[in-house]
Symmetry: C2
Subunit: 340 residues, 2 copies
DNA sequence: AGTTAGCAATCGAGCAAAAAGAGTGCTAAC
DNA sequence: GTTAGCACTCTTTTTGCTCGATTGCTAACT
């Protein structure tokens, strides 16, 4: 299936036009707006060809054409022109990160916010849990009679807290000793390391088994439990787009967006490549993404994964803009953090 | 304006019916469904009377009637029958709090979740910031070269963290000393106390001014900044209700729900009384609540305010159910926490 | 062989008129 | 005070019609 240059050009025009107007595109509008050199009849026969190839769909005989899922895929891979951010947009991004943001949670939330603002779509992101984060501080102290509180602070200023039941007979001094032991053993190590040295540590901790298990639980919990860290912004921006003028569709979209498990899966896929990945939900395609598209990017700074970010919206999404924004935010963010 | 018993009865029936069907209620449906002993003509004249009194509205001549804002107010105050939770519902609530939930944030989020699940409306809640929470632990340690991290843990397991710039020449021992000083001075005190003893403390802290100011900032920030702690669940449950079948209305509702500032104000009003408070948004009434109703309750356990919770939804809300759920959750929650 | 103009055919959008249905208010009788 | 009956009002649904947009096809043109 080889497309002539002119077919490609026309397909691109159709998609661009459809993305900006949300209306089926007619042969006439193409010649008038973009291609004064050929007649609409010619365009018509090209359109018919593109339809035959499965790139265009005609909602009904007397209407223009809209792009198929295939067409979008081709578009994002080959046809789409890469956009550049305006100075204003770059300013907005930089501004969003002006405040101190060493805390990873905050970085994520600022990034998600600015992405949503600039693209006018629902955006989401979550901090990757690499298990490679080093522990900076670990502390245990009595909180109630039989309950101690465990605090773990990491490089990224994730602070994890957890209650641990302690036996009646345990004295404050013993708790203190356990706490010191923990610091000696674990500070400077990352989560994965700790899990692997578990056996050996258990030996040293035999007097403080409850506490040791509590710590291990907290760490496992952290690595498994991605759920709490997904952040979303502009859920209702979807209402700004005309294809969602019907409440039934909004419902559908929101149900996609609300099932965080599914989203986390989607965001987690191929999060190795820094490049922008685009998933287009067909009628069948990516399950759980019915009629939606998801554009994601994973950022790293100084070799550390600083989260996966994405935009979710109608299939008729302004990919060009979304991609530029994601790339722009990534670039600025990475610069910013590297120069720290 | 005195209503006869029969008028009251009929008004109640109209509201009940309208709440469950979302359709204007006709005289005929009243006699058929609820009052077989009198004829529809009689009901009609009563309805006409209630309309004259401002309790009912006729969208157009040939339709049934719907309740006015006044009617809802009367309904929630006098007419509505108080519901009881079913065993199943009570089970669901207890189940939601089965896990350990001494952490206030968690209590709030579980409560909000269960309220939304049981009522099928958007629910929200936030932990009150009383300033009366005692500090359990306060700690400072070096985090980067010129940055220390301040951790404050309170009774309610609120953990507050904040970066503090520290001068180059400061040694780890000095940081340690400052940290100890802080513990001695502040542990066991509540936030308000600390703010009032500020002057005196400043004296003792003259060598660690940056740190002292950082602590004070963190505390002030905590007391002022309620924003971050509002939790919402089921924003899109609104779509389950037929009056929001139009995207424009959904947009409107979501914009109400998204302006957290306004919501915090609403939730904060009269949060002294434990009773359930119902605000019905008229066309003019409670600003920011256009066409919505908000039912809120504030819970306390052992005399400590444990948060304000609410349900926001269409004016045609199932007040009976919402009130029972809010009361039920409150009762169970208070029991649970008192018996700890 | 590719391009174009011309034209009939198709189908949705929009509109008005007609029909159907729901509910009321009023009147007169009970 | 209550009720049956009925004319009246207004919405909703249906129907039919026109208009306009757009296409696909054919025949002519370059």
């Amino acid at each position: 299936m080889k497309l002539s240059d002119r077919k490609k050009k026309i397909l691109q025009l159709v998609i661009d036009d459809y993305i900006s107007t949300a209306q089926p595109v007619s042969s006439k509008s193409i010649t008038e707006k973009y291609m004064n050199d050929i007649s609409s009849a010619t365009v018509r026969s090209e359109l018919a060809g593109l339809e035959e190839l499965g790139f265009l769909i005609q909602p009904h005989t007397s209407s223009g054409r809209i792009p198929s899922v295939e067409a979008y895929k081709l578009y994002v891979n080959e046809l789409m022109e890469r956009g550049k951010l305006t100075g204003k947009e770059i300013g907005a991004i930089k501004n969003a990160f002006k405040e101190r943001t060493e805390n990873l949670e905050e970085v994520v939330s600022f990034a998600v916010k600015v992405i949503s603002d600039l693209t006018d779509y629902t955006s989401l992101g979550f901090a990757a849990h690499s298990g490679k984060e080093k522990i900076v501080k670990i502390d245990i102290f009595r909180y109630r009679k039989n309950v101690a509180l465990l605090l773990i602070v990491t490089e990224n200023t994730l602070i994890k807290d957890k209650y641990i039941d302690i036996p009646n007979e345990m004295t404050d001094d013993q708790i203190k000793e356990a706490s010191n032991l923990l610091s000696d053993l674990f500070v400077g190590k990352n989560f994965s390391e700790i899990l692997t040295i578990g056996e050996k540590a258990l030996e040293e901790f035999k007097n403080y088994r409850e506490i040791f298990e509590g710590v291990m639980d907290a760490i496992e919990d952290y690595i498994d439990n991605k759920n709490n860290d997904i952040i979303m912004e502009g859920e209702n921006k979807i209402l700004h787009h005309p294809e969602y003028s019907d409440a039934e569709k909004v419902k559908n979209f929101l149900s996609v967006v609300t099932s965080k498990d599914r989203l986390i899966d989607l965001l987690s896929e191929d999060n190795d490549n820094i490049e922008v990945s685009i998933k287009i939900g067909g009628d069948e395609g990516e399950e759980g993404l019915s009629d939606c598209s998801l554009v994601t990017a994973t950022y790293t700074a100084s070799g550390v994964n600083i989260g996966t970010y994405g935009v979710i919206g109608p299939r008729r999404m302004d990919y060009q803009k979304v991609v530029s924004v994601l790339e722009g935010v990534g670039r600025i963010l990475e610069d910013l953090l590297d120069n720290k």
